[in-house]
Subunit: 363 residues, 2 copies
């Protein structure tokens, strides 16, 4: 995306192939700062501590992590161990597993001496493929926005949860891709941005992204979305996803399920932007089978922001010693999902349709 | 309630009848500080700026506001004007209107010379009645908790939203009253405390209250409740209310509707603790008829907490200039409410049942 007139991505491979540079997303929207990750350990920390987050982005960054591993030890054992360890950084998003499995496949089939170059190319390919996928998601989602624009006056009101924007991917974003492409075509869009507690990816990342792109938006507490839908102020919901099962159950940021319920209750179409690497055909029942990451209680009891003097600091918002629970994701049953917007087209959240999408019958 | 061994209420009339002292709830959980309100203007500000909040409490505090008005000018015109102005401090909770109408009725029927004394007694009566009402709500809600305790091992898991605790009333709270009474009886209860963005009444007030009372609780982001219900980790929901219509539509803190949807989707009984002064029989369709207060966008984009050095300060959590919307309440349709826990007993959220509750047939 273009930010302040310059093309910008949250992930940039160093030309010397000795590091990957990533935007430290913990500092946004207050600071735009790149961190240089030069080891698999640094990549692990950046993923685990959410300097980078978003299912597609962590897949791509992890791929470079394995390429960095190849620089120090490209033996089978070292690569396998490193991949397993990188996978453990975040348990829920399947892209991490998908990217690392693909990296292993590409490198282990190669002579050890060539693995550094092969691994780097494979990571580059994963990153560039993500850009193409997300652009295609935008193309397939665009008609949904156009259809609303054609039948009503005023902007198309789209509610999104968390950040499934370009900061969550290598470029374009998933849920935001149709929005950016509609905006580029001159369609008036207005985005309701869920704050997305506890880590506030909506308030800090999505609001920032949309402002940079000049897309009209309004920040709301996560609590407000149902009320807005009851009042007819939401035309569409579009969210991202961290893992989707064979039958179309959608695992995404905690709170997504509540918005899907409200959308269903108010007849608002609820769409999920899904790159096919996020589809996990090995799982069926999302609620029973997808591992849900529990994160630190401190993410609930404390919160970072910018003080009046410009400094970034953390404040406590609960009494000292308060116990907190922090499940990071929830599962939206397929029945509440109107459709999945993929790079291959719009598809129903249903086993047969997903199977046909991934394994189309021979012509 | 007993706090640090001392009885404590959020509202205390000065013995000299020249002021009302209230806990400044903006400073909790970090500071327990009383503010002295000696004029109707001070009462207006305390209600408008949410030093005091909670439908029953603002009704009682407003009553003292009118009593303070009587001290300076007890004429019909002055009392009527003051009551109208105090009502405008918060538009949604009907208790404010109810308490001030009752104060006007009691004072205007009295000789002007006696109005100061009458008004003060009337305000005292409203406050004491609130205590009795809330205690009775606890008695009527207790069997719901007991029934769960009898059929399962481990604590009864109750989810609540916002603060409908003793801080929202003169004592006991509404939603918390059955919880405190169950706890007093030795029933193991565990409360899931919704943070309740944007003003965090759950994190700052409910968590504090429950900790003072020794009731086990866990703070969660508002986004997490649906996930917990999907996993069978919530036995009951009990929330308060700001206005309930003749057919049982419930207006309460923004986000309540989302929890009611999740409860319905997962077969979790969703109860509303309702003092009958919160019932507005003049309204029918909550969504169409209850005025919803829009509060300042700054409550969404900025947040207060305690810094590491102990100071209380505000931080920005969104990019500068981000537009925000801040509807303070939403409406939960009666169909999602399992029952209303009132001081007169448990009642269905349904027109006939509510009519019978308020106007029982003569025996």
């Amino acid at each position: 995306m273009i930010v302040n007139g310059e093309p910008l991505r949250p992930l940039r491979a160093a030309p010397e192939r000795d590091a990957v540079l990533v935007i430290d997303q913990r500092r946004l929207p207050h600071r735009l700062h790149f961190e240089r990750l030069a080891t698999p350990q640094a990549v692990f920390t950046a993923i685990r501590e959410m300097w980078v987050r978003g299912a597609p982005l962590i897949g791509a960054v992890a791929a470079y992590g394995l390429a960095l591993q190849a620089r120090s030890d490209a033996g089978d054992e070292a690569l396998r161990r490193s991949a397993a360890w990188l996978k453990s950084a975040r348990p829920t998003a399947v892209n991490l597993m998908w990217a690392l499995d693909r990296m292993l496949r590409d490198t282990l089939n190669t002579a050890v001496a060539e693995r550094v170059g092969v691994a780097w190319q494979a990571a580059d390919a994963i990153a560039e493929e993500d850009v193409r996928i997300n652009h295609a998601i935008g193309q397939h989602g665009l008609p949904l926005v156009e259809a609303v624009a054609q039948r009503k006056a005023g902007p198309v009101n789209i509610l999104t949860h968390c950040n499934a924007g370009w900061l969550a991917t290598v470029d374009w974003g998933t849920a935001t891709s149709p929005i950016y492409q509609a905006h580029a075509q001159g369609i008036a869009v207005h985005v309701w941005v869920d704050e997305t507690r506890p880590r506030n990816q909506g308030a800090s990342l999505t609001a920032w992204e949309l402002a940079q792109a000049g897309v009209q938006h309004t920040l709301i507490a996560d609590n407000a979305g149902g009320h807005l839908m009851q009042r007819g102020q939401v035309d569409l919901c579009i969210v991202g996803c961290d893992r989707v099962t064979a039958r179309g159950d959608v695992c995404n940021k905690i709170g997504t399920y509540l918005k899907a319920l409200a959308a269903h209750d108010n007849g608002v179409p609820f769409y999920v932007a899904m790159p096919t690497p996020t589809l996990d055909l090995s799982l069926h029942d999302g609620l029973a089978e997808i591992p849900i990451e529990d994160r630190s209680p401190r993410e609930v009891t404390h919160l970072s922001g910018r003080a009046a003097d410009g400094s970034l600091l953390e404040v406590a918002i609960a009494p000292d010693g308060t116990a907190a629970a922090n499940p990071a994701f929830d599962v939206t049953p397929a029945r509440l999902v109107k459709g999945l917007i993929t790079e291959r087209g719009l598809v129903q959240a249903e086993a047969g349709a997903l199977q046909a999408l991934m394994h189309p019958p021979p012509r």
